[in-house]
């Protein structure tokens, strides 16, 4: 993970600030930085989204391709995640420096989406045992400013919300061979139901309290943290401890409760902005990367 070096007095200042619920930039322990969300930024994907959370910039593209289903789940499609830490994000990602972090982020995403109820995978099936939709979710880290997991999960949810999979029909011949026909209309597509897609909330323990959405400086002061993935209804899909320090069981319980609370608010805010963007329709001016 990208890190900054801080002096001891700076760390002490941050620590005492967190105990009094006033962080360096004036936020409380449960406040997020101002986030910017935009979908449909990459034209040759089935769905894309860009999320800017303070100095953290994430771009996600989803491509839907036809393939064969997995052997153990023949009537479902599936998702494949890949996280690329761009060398531009921070100095540590030069050359192959970002590979380890990329694979860690990818594994976390697999774990978070491991529940059957996150996405309706049965709707991605075309022909059982033969054809299904595989959603390749590619995440690109453009800038690293702390709190990568949260920003990535928000971007993934927004990109899945934006994904449009073309409608296909299966035609059967007299001989029994099946043909797949895609509709000619480019706007004839199916959308995914992202109501139960979880979002990750990272809680970093600093001193005796925990903070949400830590900046790089705050991450340098925290020795342990908890990664919680929450759905919009408040159900947890995965919990993971990060960092080399230790957490005692009571604080784990408190952090999980905070994670659930903050997670529900996060989902509400994201859904609101996605609906707002959708309602603007084609009249929305796309800002993209040159704004």
């Amino acid at each position: 993970m990208a890190s900054v070096v801080l002096s001891e007095p700076e760390k002490i200042y941050i620590l005492h600030g967190v105990q009094e619920d006033l962080r360096v930039d004036g936020r409380g322990c449960e406040d997020y930085r101002c986030a910017e969300v935009e979908t449909d930024v990459v034209s040759n994907t089935s769905g894309s989204a860009r999320v800017k959370l303070g100095h953290t910039d994430i771009l996600v593209g989803v491509k839907a391709e036809m393939g064969t289903p997995k052997l153990e789940k023949p009537d479902e499609g599936y998702l494949e995640f890949f996280v690329d830490c761009s060398a531009n994000a921070t100095l540590e990602f030069e050359a192959r420096g970002g590979e380890e972090l990329g694979s860690e982020l990818g594994n976390t995403l697999y774990r978070v989406f491991s529940s059957d109820k996150s996405i309706d995978l049965k709707s991605l099936c075309i022909n059982p045992r033969e054809n299904c939709w595989i959603l390749y979710v590619d995440v690109l880290l453009l800038e690293c400013g702390g709190n990568l997991f949260d920003a990535i999960s928000l971007a993934v949810k927004a990109a899945l919300f934006n994904t449009r999979i073309p409608k296909v029909r299966v035609l059967e011949d007299e001989e029994g061979s099946k043909e797949i026909e895609m509709s000619d209309d480019p706007y004839d597509c199916i959308r995914l139901n992202v109501e139960d897609v979880p979002c990750i909330v990272t809680l970093n323990k600093i001193g005796y309290r925990h903070v949400v959405d830590a900046t790089l400086e705050e991450e340098a002061c925290s020795l342990a943290g908890l990664l919680v993935s929450v759905t919009s209804k408040g159900a947890l899909t995965s919990v993971r401890k990060v960092g080399k320090g230790s957490l005692d069981p009571e604080s784990i319980f408190e952090m999980m409760e905070t994670g659930k609370r903050v997670g529900k608010a996060l989902h509400a805010a994201l859904q609101k902005i996605l609906d707002e963007e959708e309602s603007l329709g084609s009249s929305r001016q796309k800002v993209g990367f040159l704004g």
């Binding site: 070096v5 007095p9 200042y13 009094e20 360096v24 004036g26 997020y32 986030a35 609370r261 994201l270």
Partner: protein
């Protein structure tokens, strides 16, 4: 209880150029022709193509007799003797420390250029060399003055005055060096209740005003007492104001920071970083600064 605000992105509005006093500045972008007169010597930031002098960086054209060069706006810190800088120790080497000052090369702080605790004046011995890490470690922040510049451009610092030395509790904001106005003094005790050091290298240090001036401490002892909440609020507000001024590309000096602080008082500290609020308070600051001049 959790405050989460999300928004759709907006196009960046072009920053309104302030009313220029004196000559018009000749701004160029990479690729712009500066002059077609072949009598000029090309300096930094320019190159010759097809008998035209073309700029290679975005900045202001400077002419000294026959020498034309372009001074870039967004650049690393270029040290000059007498500048006050705030730096972070990156390495501890034999008889010197390497300091990160946002310059092209790491700056150097020689063991002979610091004040020993207790204010002793003596030759540095081998024991001093071994005890270097007790004075300054990797990650420590210091305020120093530029003593000289090596031939390769690396800057040599010194802390041979009681006002320089290791910095204690506070907040560091890193900005572009061209946004810090060169003034008579860079140490300010703002009337709002905090102190600020405007390093010419773009490192701004905001810290609580010390109660009494510890004369003989030599700047190496740092207090670990918790800073009171009222001071914290002032420091956080100042930090957000500095970030707002930098986002709107306003020069940083004590008056502009103070006016921005006063303009931000009606808003909550965490709201200052929202784009609309930022624009509003910087506009007010700009207005007050123009009234001050006019």
């Amino acid at each position: 209880m959790a405050a989460i605000s999300m928004r759709l992105p907006e196009f960046r509005k072009p920053v309104v150029p302030s009313v220029s006093r004196g000559e018009e500045k000749h701004l160029v972008l990479p690729g712009d022709t500066i002059t077609t007169d072949t009598g000029y010597m090309r300096g930094h930031g320019t190159y010759v193509e097809d008998e035209k002098l073309i700029a290679s960086v975005a900045g202001i054209v400077e002419r000294v007799n026959k020498l034309v060069c372009v001074r870039p706006m967004n650049t690393r810190y270029n040290g000059e003797v007498g500048d006050i800088v705030v730096g972070r120790i990156t390495e501890v080497q034999q008889k010197r420390w390497k300091v990160e000052t946002n310059a092209r090369l790491d700056s150097v702080l020689l063991l002979s250029s610091i004040n020993l605790p207790g204010g002793e004046l003596r030759r540095r011995s081998a024991e001093d060399e071994l005890a270097m890490r007790d004075y300054l470690q990797e990650g420590d922040l210091i305020s120093a003055e530029v003593q000289s510049i090596f031939s390769d451009g690396a800057v040599s610092l010194h802390t041979r005055s009681l006002k320089y030395g290791k910095l204690g509790q506070g907040v560091l904001v890193e900005v572009s060096p061209s946004l810090v106005k060169r003034q008579k003094t860079h140490f300010h005790d703002l009337p709002c209740g905090a102190s600020i050091i405007l390093g010419t290298n773009g490192f701004i240090w905001i810290y609580p005003t010390p109660e009494q001036k510890d004369g003989d401490a030599g700047g190496f002892t740092t207090s670990t007492e918790p800073v009171p909440l009222s001071d914290r609020e002032v420091i956080s507000r100042l930090r957000n104001c500095v970030v707002a001024l930098v986002a709107q590309k306003l020069m940083l000096f004590d008056t502009s920071i103070l006016y921005c602080y006063e303009a931000s008082l009606p808003h909550q500290i965490k709201d200052i970083l929202q784009p609309e609020v930022m624009e509003k308070i910087v506009l007010e600051t700009r207005q007050r600064l123009l009234d001050l001049e006019g």
